[in-house]
Amino acid sequence: MSTVTASTSSGAGGLRSVGAEAGPSVRVQGVCQSFDRMGPPVLDGVDLTVAPGEFLCLLGASGCGKSTLLNLLAGLAEPTAGTVDVAADRPSLMFQEPALLPWLTAGGNVELALKPRGMRRAQRREESARLLRLVNLEGQSGKRPHELSGGMRQRVALARALAQDSPVLLMDEPFAALDAITRDVLHEELVRVWSTQRLTVVFVTHNVREAVRLAQRVVLMSSRPGRIVREWAVELSQPRAIESPGVGALATEITTELHREISRHAR
């Protein structure tokens, strides 16, 4: 067995600046991750490539290692084996919870992400107002997180993620805690932002319809060990409605495969 190095590229090759078309935005090769040496690895030989500007949904049962993989992409952890290359200095990441800092206003939370970019105060204020406008939260900049609804908080979190100005946006079940109507609205908003900002999105979910509603490509992960087992290209045009027959038909097919995958663990 050959030795594989665990490394995270920090865009040293200039993947980001030398034209996005040059290479993939995300490249994961032979990634394994185990948390304890005794048990089976959580991720075992994951290979994944995401093209610049692509919207990819990573689908899998709860506990299959989606968050683990996303944390590796975000550079929050190092893989046990394999390589992770992301064509961004620091990809932005959205969590399932809005994870807004409660002592800062909506605008303050967005500005916090602008600080490491070395912006001056006035510039930060202007940029955060622009980003809040982008997620349809104009005039809400002075509100504190607890004064906003769950959907609005997630939009502030999206604005904060966009404030990092990273070409790669990672999202870990960001809408799982929202009601269906709010989620519909945010799907539409995310797709709009994705296409106008030309982002590469890796969106983790366990909701099949959500994956088909959003993605250009849906990737299915197996559980224990986590591997990529199958993928589907979704060529329905945007905007799609989550209850449209096209979305429904593909979702049914993927669900069958997901169930088959989960049933393997029944015995």
Binding site: A74, L76, D89, R90, S92, L93, F95, A99, L101, P102, W103, L112, A113, K115, P116, R117, N136, K143, R144, P145, H146, E147, L148, S149, G150, G151, M152, R160, Q164, I181, T182, D184, V185, E188, E189, R217, V229, R230, E231, W232, A233, V234, E235, L236, S237, P239, R240, A241, E243, S244, P245, G246, V247, A249, L250, T252, E253, T255, T256, R260
Partner: protein, 313 residues
């Protein structure tokens, strides 16, 4: 699942199935639905302003009624003659002494002496307690070594230190400050430590994802996140400092020390003048309540309200 789907086949790696849909189905929700949701969700947030009479009836009246009742019972007990007059003076006697103490300036002098001592002692405790809390948080070894002692000191009545302090520093201000510090520092250090421990790990991850460095995360994320616990520690620290100060003043009586509230109380005891004793206790209580209401309560309420951590009732 409905059986209408085709049997899935495990495909070789790299194979991608393609789906093209003609029908788009119903329209997506659109901007107006979003605006409607936002409006519905945030409509009830505005806090209704409390009307003045409401404040009067619910906040001012209850303690006034209670105090009036207390004085009434006191008067009745006094009139019944259960205790001799030197042990239980009448409310009017006490009111007279209180008024004398206030008008001849002794009350103001005592309050100023005690409050300035308390302020200096608390400021010193604040610096030392905060540094100690930071050090204990930064070093797990230090935390393991002195954590139990600091927690233990919190429950040791600091009046127990008075004899030691007098032996070390004689009857000086240093003795009083020693007792105040030993009372307040552990609470402040522990409060800061508790504040740090209660910071959700998610906040640190947010800081890392946003690209903040170690120092930036401490300054912009960790310290503000720990503020509520720290404030709780400060508040308790002040309460302990004030108590310790009164205990120390009560025991260390000397002309060179000036006359604080505790010393005023001691004069009352030595003269067997119960009305002066009650006057001193009332003054001590009033100062404690005033500082709580004017400094700590608004500070804590402001921080908690800004974070949506209180239910205003």
């Amino acid at each position: 699942m409905p059986g209408e789907s085709s049997t899935p086949v495990r495909l070789p790696a790299g194979h991608v199935e393609t789906h093209t849909g003609q029908q788009q189905g119903r329209a997506t929700p659109g901007r107006s639905v979003e605006a409607g949701l936002d409006a519905l969700d945030t409509a009830s947030v505005a806090r209704p302003r409390r009307r003045p009479w409401h404040v009067l009836v619910h906040s001012v009246l209850p303690p006034v009624v209670f105090l009036a009742a207390l004085v009434g019972v006191w008067q009745l007990v006094h009139a019944a003659g259960l205790k001799p007059s030197y042990a239980l003076p009448s409310p009017t006697d006490v009111a007279t002494t209180f008024w004398e103490t206030v008008t001849d300036g002794r009350a103001a002098e005592a309050i100023w002496t005690s409050v300035s001592r308390g302020g200096v002692g608390f400021a010193l405790s604040l610096v030392i307690g905060t540094l100690l809390g930071l050090a204990m948080w930064a070093s797990t070894w230090l935390r393991a070594a002195i954590g139990p002692i600091v927690s233990g000191l919190q429950s040791l009545p600091s009046v127990a230190w008075v004899p030691a302090a007098i032996i070390w520093f004689q009857l000086t201000d240093a003795a009083i400050y020693t007792v105040v510090l030993l009372g307040a520092v552990p609470s402040i250090a522990n409060g800061l430590l508790t504040g740090f421990k209660q910071v959700p790990p998610l906040f640190d991850r947010v800081g890392r994802v946003l690209g903040l460095g170690g120092l930036g995360r401490i300054r912009l994320v960790l310290l503000p996140a720990a503020l509520p616990g720290y404030l709780g520690g400060l508040r308790q620290g002040w309460a302990f400092a004030w108590r310790s100060l009164m205990a120390a003043e009560l025991i260390t009586y000397s002309p060179s020390l000036g006359q604080g509230l505790g010393q005023l109380l001691n004069i009352g005891r030595e003269l067997s003048q119960m009305s002066l004793v009650i006057t001193s206790i009332t003054l001590i209580l009033l100062v404690g309540v005033a500082i709580e209401l004017l400094v700590f309560a608004p500070l804590e309420r402001g921080v908690l309200r800004r974070r949506g951590l209180t239910v205003d009732r």
